[in-house]
Subunit: 239 residues, 2 copies
DNA sequence: TTTGTCTATATTGGATCCAATAAATAAAAA
DNA sequence: TTTTTATTTATTGGATCCAATATAGACAAA
């Protein structure tokens, strides 16, 4: 539970995902152990774990380095996410949603509708949308009854935009964000409709296109960061 | 390189993949360390590594257990493989194959053609086909220029049939296997043709169906094993 | 015979130490 | 001044030990 080993893994993962440990930074066992106040053993195990998660790269004799993430890597991961979530939607359509799943999806869709019914959106709304969005996607993945999808998606959790829980928005242009997320939410409706009617190909196509919206946004994000502008990313950074 | 740690990981992985350590079997640090002639430290790290690879499941106070693999898990993983390799073929079609890639693919296609030109097939031929098949798929994944695909596929390497390098055949019915692999190889031709002509959707559809051939075969495999019949699986078991 | 409690055993997680290896720095030679 | 060699420092991998925790077995009571 609260053993130092698990805490070391979680802490380091959080430090990497939050940017506290920047890409390119070198980490070694002894200094890290001192910094975290533990012996080397849990740090050694944490490093290997995070290496396997794709967050660290091992140097040959000088510790580990926080992985640089390339734009091509992010772009490719969004494509992978698109096909995997598309497959999840297809398989969910081929299965029968449970009553509980239907009810929860309807509840989430209604929750989203209420956000957009106001005609505008603020950051608090977007945090709510984020949670609703995440749960909506999770249910579909669960409804696929295919553990390999969640497994394959888990490899993207550390990449900006490619994580199923990631949500990026431009805080300086909330009117545009309102329209964009409203569109995305209407895609949620369409996916649910397709799944409910057992329309696998339709569900898959919508869900793949749903991920492509993130794709174009990742490019805008890169340009804004080059221009020194800031974009806000909402995602989970916990273990 | 040949440090005990790496050897322990490789050795255990091989023992699991070969069936020497059977699904459901329990492993603990101390007896395993004794058996392999090392201290507990590399065994501890190996267990965690293999847990992250999906080969072991941790018990709460009694070591690890070799993971049981369900038929649904295999089936789902083959689906995932289909969409990922389909995406790879699509992206390869959207990129430009290098001269070297084209030449190697042509060489591999020719090699396969020669196998089938004889009008029959034996186990030695199938071993050659296996290597040719594996390399063919690898090139397409490389040509996609999308590292996330290989990354996501790597999660399936331990599952029967879902690994890109797996090739199953019924050694008691080589005439049927001849026809089946001939068909699969003609799909290779079709995929190459689609990619060469930049036909992304066509390439993706063929490749997805190509994986589905494995799908139906995995079901036949289950029935044969229940009937006590043996089916031969060619795949890589190395690290 | 069954259930509860206590004890013994098995097992893991972490700390510490030692040896091997890699990298950085200093000193010597060209 | 530059290059090569030697030395020092940093770092990792593995071994061993200790403490904590979980599990199994033995024993007593109902």
């Amino acid at each position: 539970m609260n053993k130092p080993g698990q805490q070391v893994i979680s802490r380091l993962r959080q430090m990497i995902l939050s940017g506290e440990l920047e890409a390119g930074q070198r980490l070694a066992e002894i200094p890290t152990a001192e910094q975290l106040g533990v012996s080397r053993t849990p740090v050694r195990i944490a490093f290997r774990t995070l290496e396997q998660e794709g967050l660290l790269t091992k140097l040959s004799g000088r510790g580990y380095i926080v992985r640089q993430v390339t734009q091509a890597e992010i772009s490719g991961a969004i494509e992978v996410r698109g096909v995997l979530e598309g497959l999840a939607a297809r398989q969910a359509a081929e299965n029968t949603l449970s009553k509980a799943q239907i009810n929860e999806l309807l509840q989430l869709l209604k929750q989203g509708d209420e956000l957009f019914a106001k005609g505008n959106i603020n950051e608090q709304d977007l945090a709510i949308y984020h949670d609703m969005n995440q749960r909506f996607h999770q249910i579909i993945i669960e409804a696929s009854l295919n553990p390999a999808i969640a497994e394959a998606l888990s490899r993207n959790e550390h990449l900006p935009f490619a994580s199923v829980s990631a949500l990026a928005f431009d805080r300086n242009n909330l009117a545009q964000e309102y329209r964009r997320f409203n569109f995305a939410h209407m895609q949620h409706h369409a996916v649910f409709d397709a799944i409910s009617h057992g329309q696998g190909s339709r569900a898959e196509a919508i869900m793949r296109e749903h991920a492509n919206v993130t794709h174009s946004y990742a490019k805008v994000f890169s340009q804004m960061e080059e221009n020194g502008e800031r974009m806000h990313v909402l995602k989970n950074t916990g273990s």
